[in-house]
Symmetry: C2
Subunit: 352 residues, 2 copies
């Protein structure tokens, strides 16, 4: 019997995190009798006077939102990270190590309407919104990056991803410490750069463009792939064609291109299971704050999408027992997922 990746279990290595993932394609055959999720809410009003993210609404802290017409950024009313807090006492006990954490958390609303999602906007609208968005992202990165070593922009979309508010928005958490995930990516990209003299992810994009079997969608500035080492069933990565280390380096054409590729990817996602597709997504690039002075050539700016759904709009992949205690495990190959996404239309199923 010869090895077939789509038939035979194997493990794959993630050179960014240093972790392995167990790939078990034969497992898609098992029946599912477990929990099903509620379908995504369809009857959301454009404006809800009780929703603290809507224009003109009074927030829990008494502030009134402006009558904003595009994006709107404010400091989270219940932030996980505060700017000024006392530091824990220093301890050299290796078993009880604590350290200080300072930071800030902001919320960025994408649009004044609650019932809008990116893929459902027209090409012009989304271009305007994503251009505005990427402009705002870059502004926030610039402002917060002066002060903090790491600025994490992320979006939780859908109740199943813990999103507690249907209004289209993302969050920005900036911190005085390098969080685990980017720390691993920093170390491993640096190591690769030292060994090969080229940035890991630029080599990776080049190879994926040759191999083609994990490509989802591309344009003249961006490449979307299901990474070889993907953990989530339909996980994707947005990679630039040009070596960009930070979001703040993007040209206007690259920002335009980003609007286009985000529109195409999220449309395919919605088309996959004919639902408003839930995910967590975020951007990773070279560290900021004290590291703004460095070249950081080992870094390549990129986006990560982690969607939980596996089989349908209501059946997700549970990362539980084995995954928590031992190792991530996936039920279809990255190539199978890429092909499904690649074959889907770039026109939203609700637009005909």
């Amino acid at each position: 019997m010869s090895f077939e990746a789509t038939e035979h279990q194997h493990v794959r290595f993630n050179p960014l995190s240093g972790n392995w993932v167990l790939v078990c394609p034969h497992r898609m055959k098992r029946p599912w009798a477990g929990q099903v999720e509620k379908p995504t809410e369809e009857n959301i009003p454009a404006h809800d006077p009780m929703n603290p993210l809507c224009p003109r609404v009074t927030r829990p802290n008494g502030q009134i939102n402006p009558d904003y017409e595009s994006t709107f950024v404010f400091t989270n009313d219940f932030p996980a990270l505060l700017e000024e807090v006392p530091s824990p006492p220093e301890s050299d006990d290796p078993l009880f190590r604590a350290s200080q954490a300072r930071g800030t958390c902001r919320v960025m609303c994408f649009h004044p309407h609650t019932n809008i999602t990116l893929p459902l906007m027209s090409q012009e609208e989304i271009r305007a919104v994503v251009n505005q968005l990427s402009m705002m992202w870059v502004m926030e990165m610039e402002e917060l990056g002066k002060k903090y070593i790491w600025v994490q922009i992320f979006e939780n979309k859908g109740a199943v991803m813990g999103c507690s508010n249907p209004h289209p928005h993302c969050q920005i958490w900036a911190s005085s410490f390098m969080p685990n995930e980017p720390h691993l990516k920093d170390t491993n990209q640096r190591q690769y750069f030292l060994e090969h003299g080229t940035p890991m992810l630029m080599d990776y994009v080049a190879r994926e463009l040759e191999k083609k079997d994990r490509l989802v969608v591309t344009n003249s500035h961006w490449v979307v792939v299901v990474p070889y080492w993907a953990v989530w069933p339909y996980e994707t990565m947005i990679l630039p064609r040009r070596h960009v280390t930070r979001m703040t380096e993007l040209s206007n054409e690259e920002k335009d291109g980003l609007a286009d590729i985000v529109k195409k990817l999220t449309t395919k996602y919605d088309n996959l299971f004919k639902c408003s597709f839930p995910y967590s997504m975020g951007w990773h690039g070279a560290p900021t704050g004290p590291r703004l002075e460095n070249e950081e050539k080992h870094w390549v700016f990129h986006g990560c999408y982690y969607p939980p759904l596996l089989r349908s709009a209501t059946v997700k992949k549970f990362m539980v027992g084995y995954e928590m205690l031992a190792q991530a495990q996936r039920d279809l190959t990255a190539e199978q997922a890429a092909q499904k996404l690649r074959d889907l239309s770039e026109i939203h199923y609700k637009i005909t």
Copy 2:
């Protein structure tokens, strides 16, 4: 202002995994308008002729389960790991590394009745069941450990933890590779042992017994703590008082003690939010297979419980956006969680 762990955000280090966790106790004050889980199913029959885990039922593969009266072990009908599969071709490309994965997956039913859970059994019953269980666990560890380097025993309890069958059972996945999580624990415990000459977790138990503020429940053989570096709100660890490297080394008294401590811990868990408390749990000890010959003195056998609930029987902690892209974050301190669990009765709320 002086530092108060219960008030001020900080990060804590996990010496087993090498990761940090962000602790934000002030965050418990935020309101929650997001997804609520279905309450756990209460009307489960003792026997369901359609449930493939029940005695005398015909499974999907045509086999008929025996009329078992205590535990029952069989190979999973839809295993993630198969014993014989072809290996992927060797590649020295650092960006596309795959490796072989062989193994087996077994299911172990705890009891012939579907509607029973450990904490609801009487002390005698649970002692019988857990003694039987630990006997079976040890047998499986011995048998599979001859062949495989890692034998992961784990239980997913509750639909919210992806458990697709309400019948009380755990799973055993044995593999030809060291999975990520135990690999990290192996490396970090070894490093500590080299530096200090003592096993990390034995030093840790000793310190927790002195400090007392993270203790949940103890008996003469076992200690349950909310680890200093806990990620999940009510995460706990079961640690031995004696240096045991593998489950197979437990004395009869230690197995009895384990029955007692598991009963007490799971009763407290059920009492916390007055529900059948969901979790993923599992056991970690020194590797097996080719490493059975080694002493592995750096290892300490222990159990890990990862429960998802945060605020009530229906509101869980979502490990999403920031957690996936940056770093785990928790909303109450380990000490606060330990105190809550410690103060709860050891008598189940349904038994009066």
